[in-house]
């Protein structure tokens, strides 16, 4: 009897490890923290959000304490966040579009064919990162800004609406980041996604105030750039808007619709 030497494949398919959401999450986390843009945008968020708040409180404390003041001091305690929100948009957009711009998205989807998981992992990480950074930034801004308000005797304690505005800032940043992740996924282009998100959230949100009557008031209240901000300020500059939580519910619903549209698109389209 002859012996038959058969060549056996050296690498038979081994299913030792089934890919799970945890794997995708850790991969996306490595991606996010291994590029400089993430750290630059977060540094800008902290710098602008806390720095500008402190600067504005320092500059306005005396006036706010005077009889001429026609703005509530609380509106100034998270003032910097209104500028810093641009960085949340950049972070959210870049988490997605940097992959489309470089063609890396194909490597990603070949490694994780269940694209919904990639999308969910990106969204989750951007939201958590921005919630934590946003809340901490608001706290630092409050501590610095309130020091100057305290000096004029108009300081506010970290409780009630002030406390809510702290994690509210985190929630608003997280919501904007998710908004940006969704728009980035739908448009797949960095400049287009950033421009459109900023235009919708800030330019259009302000322009609708020019529309007269109930329609104008309705639009003003529901535009994402308006509805989202209320929760992030102890007292709002704009008395037309709804209360913090109803406003945030509107904003959250808008973000949810965009995320759903993006989740459908990412699965249906050719990469």
């Amino acid at each position: 009897m002859s012996t038959v030497t058969q060549s056996v494949p050296a690498a038979p398919e081994q299913v030792l490890h089934r890919q799970g959401f945890g794997d995708v999450l850790s991969a996306e986390w490595i991606k996010l923290r291994s590029v400089r843009s993430t750290w630059w945008t977060l540094a800008a968020l902290v710098g602008l959000g806390a720095g500008l708040t402190v600067a504005v409180c320092w500059g306005n404390a005396e006036w706010l304490a005077s009889a001429e003041a026609d703005e509530p001091p609380g509106a100034f305690l998270t003032w910097g966040m209104m500028i810093a929100q641009v960085t949340a948009i950049v972070l959210g957009v870049l988490a997605v579009t940097s992959e489309y711009g470089t063609g890396m998205i194909r490597a990603t989807f070949a490694a994780v064919p269940r694209r919904g998981r990639v999308f969910a992992a990106k969204a989750l990480l951007v939201a958590v990162l921005l919630f934590v950074t946003g809340t901490l930034t608001a706290l630092v801004g409050y501590l610095g800004g309130n020091y100057f308000l305290d000096r004029e005797g108009i300081g506010l304690a970290l409780e009630g609406d002030v406390l809510r505005a702290m994690y509210g800032s985190g929630l608003y940043m997280a919501g904007l980041g998710l908004f940006a992740v969704a728009v980035g996924t739908l448009l797949r282009h960095t400049a287009a996604a950033i421009t459109i998100t900023i235009a919708v959230c800030f330019v259009v949100s302000n322009m609708v105030m020019l529309i007269p009557g109930d329609v104008g008031l309705f639009l003003e209240r529901v535009m994402p750039g308006n509805a989202g901000t209320v929760i992030a300020t102890p007292e709002t500059f704009n008395p037309n808007l709804l209360d913090a939580w109803p406003s945030f519910a509107i904003f959250a619903a808008e973000v949810a619709v965009l995320l759903a549209a993006a989740a459908v698109a990412v699965r249906r389209r050719d990469a």
């Binding site: 060549s7 056996v8 494949p9 050296a10 690498a11 038979p12 398919e13 081994q14 299913v15 030792l16 490890h17 089934r18 890919q19 799970g20 794997d23 995708v24 850790s26 991969a27 996306e28 490595i30 991606k31 291994s34 590029v35 400089r36 843009s37 940097s98 992959e99 470089t102 063609g103 890396m104 194909r106 490597a107 990603t108 989807f109 070949a110 490694a111 994780v112 064919p113 269940r114 050719d270 990469a271």
Partner: protein, 306 residues
């Protein structure tokens, strides 16, 4: 093993891949050859589940890639020349790939060493030359130690040393029993690298055979014979068991070498005006085969094909 059945992709009214069937078997290097725009990359993207087929199907190890429980452990691919973020280091690029499929981080060092990037692995990948980028792409393809490896135009941008390296790597992977599928638009490169060829043109399979067969069939040499007594010479050579074709005023003879043909004719005392060995190059053969199937025919190419 990769298996395509009636695989089709259309974009609007343009058919990029037209109901093709093929099987890529393990243990050998299969070249996927075709001019630019023939449907190679579209086919490869469908194998990886990146593009959805309009009709038909393609499976990797018996299942669609989209349903793979361990994607990088079943197929590794180089799809895009620069499929990485320019600001991320090679090591981090491979680390996220490994993490996404639960592959131990130790494998990152192994593949970096395998492709010779271990000393520059900490650099931002945007600083890499095209060749280093290709090596990173190949490292990424091998990270899961997959039984199926797909490389789309892997030698693009590589220097001769790099091309030789890809060739020997492909050989080694095939010898290890893996399925190796490499696309190229360079016939001569594929002739050196591949054991088996699948030739595609305008979305259709034009040839699916061993490289040896392909060369024998499409790039065979022949002897051109011109003689004042063409008919007699033709009959004589045919009687000798040779294959004779009349082309214009010459005979194209296959089956033996020029010297033997000259001797046969001389033995009969017939006149001989020309006796030339004509070797058609592989590149010519490929051009001829695909000439009617190229998407964008340039003037120069038409002349070569003619």
């Amino acid at each position: 093993m990769i298996r395509a059945q009636a695989l089709t992709k259309t974009y609007g009214d343009k058919t990029a891949v037209d109901a093709i069937d093929f099987t890529v078997k393990p243990g050998r290097v299969t070249g996927f050859l075709g001019p630019n725009g023939a449907g190679k990359s579209t086919t490869m993207r469908m194998i990886l589940g990146l593009d959805a087929p309009t009709a038909g199907s393609v499976t990797v190890n018996g299942h669609r890639h989209l349903a793979s429980p361990a994607p990088l452990r079943s197929i590794g691919a180089l799809i895009e020349a620069q499929g990485f973020h320019p600001g991320r280091s090679a090591r981090d690029h491979l680390r996220w790939l490994a993490a996404s499929n639960g592959i131990p981080t130790t494998r990152v060092g192994e593949v970096l060493e395998l492709v010779g990037l271990e000393n520059v692995a900490g650099q931002r990948a945007g600083r890499y030359s095209l060749g280093m980028g290709q090596r990173l792409g190949i490292a990424a393809a091998l990270i899961g130690d997959p039984p199926v490896v797909v490389l789309d135009e892997p030698v693009n941008g590589l220097d001769p040393e790099g091309i030789r390296w890809v060739r020997s790597l492909a050989r080694r992977l095939a010898d290890e029993g893996r399925t190796v599928f490499i696309s190229s638009h360079l016939m001569t490169e594929m002739a050196l690298t591949a054991d088996h060829l699948i030739v595609i043109g305008r979305g259709q399979i034009l040839a699916d055979c061993s490289t040896e067969d392909f060369i024998a069939r499409h790039a065979a040499s022949y002897v051109r014979v011109k003689s004042p007594a063409r008919a007699e010479v033709g009959a004589l050579l045919e009687r000798a068991g040779l294959e004779v074709t009349v082309v214009d005023d010459a005979l194209h003879v296959q089956g033996t070498e020029a010297a033997a043909i000259g001797d046969l004719i001389h033995a009969k005392g017939l006149g001989l005006h020309e006796l030339t060995l004509v070797r058609s190059s592989l590149e010519d053969a490929f051009m001829t085969l695909t000439a009617s199937h190229v998407e964008y025919t340039s003037k120069a190419r038409e002349e070569v094909a003619a």
